[in-house]
Subunit: 321 residues, 2 copies
């Protein structure tokens, strides 16, 4: 009988859902829009029906071991999503309990970047690592820290909000209400803000001078940089500088074997890795210099979120046995 886990990634726009084996083979994968579900009960009803259908449709003999969920503002200890700004479901939502009652298997929930870190450890480049940092670069900057082989969840289950460390004390306004947070510089939105700042500051010619703020995307900045647009290249350099400096800070706490970059900006390859590495080493405390690897995530991007969520199931199953 084959053991299976379900990995679910809840984002502001879509919910991704997959049925996986312990080896990370994806038996089935789908996604549906998040906003369809005004009430969390509607979502739970829909999801539990869909799980039943999916499993019924599998030909092999199997057993569902559990469900793992990655969600914004997810709390592992309580299995809750708490005050997530981009979801319809307000307040504190006990999602893991609600789903577990319906489908009668354990349900684990954590924030999306922590799930990605677990995925990297189970299926990706951190398979044999006990100490590493996962940085997810999307609209914002998420992070997961692993020390002594365990994800750091902290006292209240909300550890790993490195995107909200302060870079400049009177810096850019952040969605969290603070100023100068790391993610206002290092993220898809961050590099766009940097481009627009450089447009005002520098006189460098750039194709990006023809786009409005709302129309600039990180993909365009990447293409421009690949075509030799100096202003776009400068924006990547600045982004890597800020990230490298702050990673040097994080290294003093964790002393990791490696740091993994994942997601949109990380796909820019050398454009982001080279300046990040350069400034990370420049700001590293001497005993850490040239010891910490800066790596691309080995998770396939389109399946990373469900792999990460599903790995919550396997790691917790192991702890119980």
């Amino acid at each position: 009988m084959q053991k299976l886990a379900i990995g679910i990634d809840i984002g502001g726009t879509s919910i991704k859902y997959g049925v996986l084996t312990e080896d990370g083979e994806v038996k089935l994968k789908e996604s549906f829009p998040t906003k369809e579900f005004k009430e969390v009960d509607d979502f739970i009803n829909y999801l539990s029906e869909r799980i039943k259908h999916s499993l019924a449709g599998l030909k092999s003999d199997h057993k569902l071991v559990g469900v793992g969920i990655g969600a914004p503002n997810g709390n592992f200890y309580r299995g809750t999503i708490e005050h997530a700004p981009n979801l319809n479901w307000k307040g504190i939502v006990p999602l893991a309990d609600l789903l577990s009652k319906k489908i009668k298997v354990p349900v684990y929930l954590t924030n999306d970047a922590n799930a990605a870190a677990m995925g990297e450890m189970t299926y990706g480049g951190a398979k044999n690592m006990k100490n590493f940092i996962m940085i997810t670069l999307g609209t914002g900057l998420g992070s997961g820290f692993v020390a002594n082989g365990n994800l750091i969840l902290g006292q209240d289950g909300f550890a790993g909000e490195f995107g909200h460390t302060t870079v400049f004390h009177d810096g850019r306004e952040c969605g969290c209400g603070k100023k100068g947070c790391l993610e206002t510089y290092v993220s898809a939105t961050g590099i766009k803000r940097t481009v627009v700042k450089l447009l005002s500051k520098a006189k460098t010619d750039s194709i990006l001078r023809d786009y409005s703020y709302n129309n600039i995307t990180s993909e365009q900045i990447y293409k421009a940089a690949m075509n030799g647009d100096q202003l776009a290249i400068d924006a990547f350099d600045f982004t890597g500088k800020i990230l490298g400096m702050k990673l040097a800070d994080a290294i003093t706490i964790i002393s990791p074997e490696a740091i993994f970059l994942f997601g949109g900006l990380a796909n820019a390859g050398k454009l982001i890795f080279e300046p990040t590495k350069k400034y990370m080493e420049e700001y590293n405390f001497p005993i850490y210099k040239n010891k910490v690897k800066l790596l691309s995530s080995l998770l396939p991007e389109c399946e990373a979120a469900i792999l990460g969520s599903a790995s919550l199931v396997w790691s917790n199953e192991k702890k119980q046995h």
Copy 2:
């Protein structure tokens, strides 16, 4: 038969040495100057003789379980002191192995701030805590981070160098070769540098204008502040501001239950705790606000180092049983 551990604290000036019970009762305590021992072999010979004498002098029936050592640049994994700038013994010194061969019990070694964190967890205010940060304020700033109930040692055994995170990117020159490190602002030396900077910048009258740079001590700054000297009070406020801001950064990684301050500057009480707490909350990511306790270490200062070192023995003995 009573189990005993020996705790040793190796500093640049003196070596403190104590024989302790598991409850933290100090049966015997002494100290001797570090510089006496030009070669590490001399030190090992002297120390092992002294241990034999100490134990022979005890009246009760006892068993020595092990020795714990806290030392600058101490590496737990290797039991080594590596390139410590303030010691006679240069290069990589395998102190734990050398001593263990002589006295035939396990010898554990880590850096002094990590030992202090272990001490706080075993004998101090962190007895029931799984997630906390220890900050030791002396000539420099040391730190120990505990997550999921374990000290974070990192990939190479050198985790917890929070004193060398960067505050200002072109800031004060640090002994480590970098610029703008936290300990150049927050430490006994740091507050003195702040006072001297304020003397040049402000026109505020101050008793400290009568002292040379070399003659100003953190004790004098404390006394001046207690007597209402505004410049000294401003120096404490600035020191607390920098510490509070950087603690808010560290909280995003660890999400601790509490942060403990230990050592010279921490003894200034409200003068340092109030601004640190104020700015820590101001820069905290909203979900952490007013949740993290800022506390004084409960370790008695004169015995903290040997308590911390000895606690390495008890915690490792537990792991083996």
